[in-house]
């Protein structure tokens, strides 16, 4: 029997993440023996459900996978179906509307995470209710900004949750220029709040950490910040079309989780999401967002996952400013959608959900019937990198008490905003010391 004390730290129900899951960390002295982020239910049910359905149904069916990022599911689905049918909508008002509604989702999701899920970790509260009692203004800012995102999604998407206006080829109805102008006031307000959020987040205390996984994000061919389309690139030389995703990324089943772990075949784990986008595309941020980042002192490189709260705040500025630019140049298209005729083939779509890249692949028949579907959500892609980060954090902070270490480890997971309801069903947390 070892004389080195071993301890286990576990959280059986991880709070302030989307969905449910568990964390398990086992330490022997200052050595981390084992780390597991347990995730139970990937969206395999949806992949099976999609078979036999019409290609036009994929955006609406897959949007049900997540109530937080339905637009991401719809956008990856329409991109993939259009790709299968030989259609590309890479510019013009339809693409603009897609980017606009996606900005709405980023604003909604990031403000929820920054203010209600992540902020309590930094302000020293067990939860957002306790935080809101002492800092009602902080909670109010988050809710106000989230509401601006909802307003965008409702106007462009028809309703805020599981929007109904998105279709393969475009939209069922394109809003008028006048309708979009009604979004200017709330978005300008949200942009101001976002700028204040960056300043506020920059003043928080951040534990030291350097997590160096390969960073993967889309590269927008038009020079914009990655959201709705582009090639898949990394900081270690990956540069592939979404169609080559399968050739470079392998999904593996691991015993402790029902979600599949994705890894780059040649190298291993990788991270998608705000940190990856920020480091790979800092130069593509709008000038206002870049200036806010500089003012916050983070600069073009940020590898500390605890500082992802600042990066999300910068992306809030980016999304508000991008949305306002789209509205200002928008002209209502003659037709809200382009014709997309089905043909036998395979299509791929990758877009940037708020928490990371979401990949869809469909094989369809001549009449558009779906023959096969593959959905790789961001949390499945990030899971290995999150576990490695957790291992590094537990090793660096092994001298904390069990309770403090548990909180630090939970925070390390929340740094990555995992959406376990997309990737899974249930999450709990354990740290074991021997």
């Amino acid at each position: 029997m070892s004389e080195v004390p071993t301890r286990t730290i576990r959280t059986d129900y991880l709070a302030r993440v989307e969905g449910e899951g568990a964390m398990y960390v086992e330490l022997e002295g200052d050595q981390v023996r084992e780390v597991k982020l347990r995730i139970y239910e990937p969206p395999r049910f949806f992949e099976a459900l999609l078979r036999g359905r019409a290609f036009t149904e994929a955006p609406d069916i897959t949007s049900r996978i997540c109530g937080i990022c339905p637009i991401a599911y719809q956008m990856s689905a329409v991109r993939a179906m259009e790709d299968a049918c030989g259609v590309a909508i890479d510019s013009g008002p339809i693409r603009d509307l897609r980017r606009l509604i996606y900005c709405g989702e980023w604003i909604e999701s990031h403000s929820l995470h920054v203010y209600l899920l992540h902020a309590p970790d930094f302000l020293g509260y067990p939860g957002f209710v306790e935080m809101a009692r002492d800092h009602p203004k902080v909670a109010e800012q988050g809710l106000q900004m989230k509401k601006a995102g909802n307003t965008v999604m409702t106007l462009v998407g028809g309703r805020e949750i599981h929007p109904i206006n998105v279709r393969v080829g475009g939209f069922y109805r394109a809003p008028s220029r006048r309708e979009l102008r009604t979004l200017v006031d709330p978005l300008e307000q949200a942009r101001e709040t976002a700028l204040a959020t960056v300043r506020w987040a920059a003043g928080l205390h951040f534990p030291d950490a350097t997590h160096e996984p390969e960073l993967v994000a889309l590269a927008d061919p038009g020079g914009g910040y990655p959201i709705d389309l582009g090639r898949i690139v990394s900081d270690r030389g990956l540069d592939i079309a979404p169609a080559d995703f399968d050739a470079h990324v392998v999904e593996e089943h691991v015993e402790h989780s029902n979600a599949l772990h994705a890894r780059i075949r040649a190298r291993g784990s990788y991270l998608t999401g705000p940190l990856a986008r920020y480091n790979l595309a800092f130069g593509q941020l709008r000038p206002l967002a870049q200036a806010a980042a500089h003012e916050a002192g983070v600069g073009p490189t940020c590898r500390n996952p605890f500082q992802s709260i600042i990066v999300r705040a910068v992306e809030l500025v980016q999304a508000c400013d991008d949305a306002l630019a789209i509205i200002s140049r928008y002209e209502q298209p003659d037709r809200p959608a382009v014709e997309v005729a089905p043909r036998r083939g395979v299509g791929h779509g990758a877009t940037e959900a708020p928490r990371g890249m979401l990949y869809h692949r469909y094989e369809i028949d001549d009449d558009g019937t779906i023959l096969a579907a593959t959905i790789v959500p961001p949390t499945s892609q990030n899971q290995l990198a999150i576990e490695e980060d957790l291992r590094a954090v537990a090793g660096r902070h092994f001298d904390l008490s069990d309770e403090e270490l548990k909180l630090r480890c939970e925070q390390a997971i929340r740094n990555h905003d995992p959406c376990i309801s997309c990737a899974t069903h249930f999450l709990d947390l354990t740290i074991e010391r021997r």
């Binding site: 993440v17 449910e20 937080i68 209600l116 809101a132 009602p136 509401k147 805020e160 949750i161």
Partner: protein, 188 residues
């Protein structure tokens, strides 16, 4: 801006996760109430934060969601959350970071909670993705809809039975698997 209807019924849930759809089903059964009575009836999917916007300006709300307390599946819980927390074991089930109970407490902390908040929880047993309502919960939907209808009408006329009851009380109204008695029969 003040809302035109002061009493709001919100059915909460997820349509594709078994018994989690119970609240949505109850809201669907009460569509006539929305058309004819002056009570607003809404269905809400997604995270709980959206509820704060949905009930903004309402004076009284009745929330209907699935619950996970270990009680017999099909049991209908009634909780007056106007001034007391929803008891932890009766927290309605949610796969989101913020469910109904958390939304209520957040609004209470921010002092934006409507003055009357009644929560109906339908005890569920099956939450698998893609499944429909379980055999225990499906028969309870009508009973729950009746109870919520009476509650909302009572609130509208200002004669809610809840007013005479102490705040924060809760009662298991009935089990659909029980003797077939109605919700009203078993009210405390």
């Amino acid at each position: 801006m003040p809302r035109s209807r002061s009493v709001l019924v919100i059915g909460v849930g997820n349509a594709v996760r078994g018994d989690d759809a119970a609240g949505l089903e109850v809201a669907r059964r009460l569509a006539d109430l929305d058309r004819e009575s002056g009570i607003e009836v809404r269905a809400h999917e997604g995270d709980g934060v959206g509820l704060l916007e949905l009930w903004d300006g309402a004076e009284a709300i009745v929330l209907v969601d699935s619950a996970c307390s270990g009680a017999v599946p099909g049991t209908i819980h009634r909780i007056d959350a106007s001034s007391a927390r929803v008891p932890v074991p009766l927290r309605p089930a949610s796969t989101h970071a913020l469910g109904v109970a958390e939304a209520i407490e957040l609004a209470r902390a921010m002092e934006t909670l409507p003055s009357t908040v009644i929560v109906y929880g339908l005890e569920g047993s099956l939450y698998e993705t893609g499944s429909s309502l379980s055999e225990h919960v499906a028969p309870a939907i009508d009973l729950a809809a009746d109870a919520v209808r009476r509650e909302a009408l009572g609130l509208l006329s200002g004669h809610s039975a809840s007013r005479s009851r102490s705040r924060g009380s809760r009662s298991a109204l009935c089990s659909a698997r029980g003797s077939g008695r109605t919700a009203a029969d078993q009210r405390e």
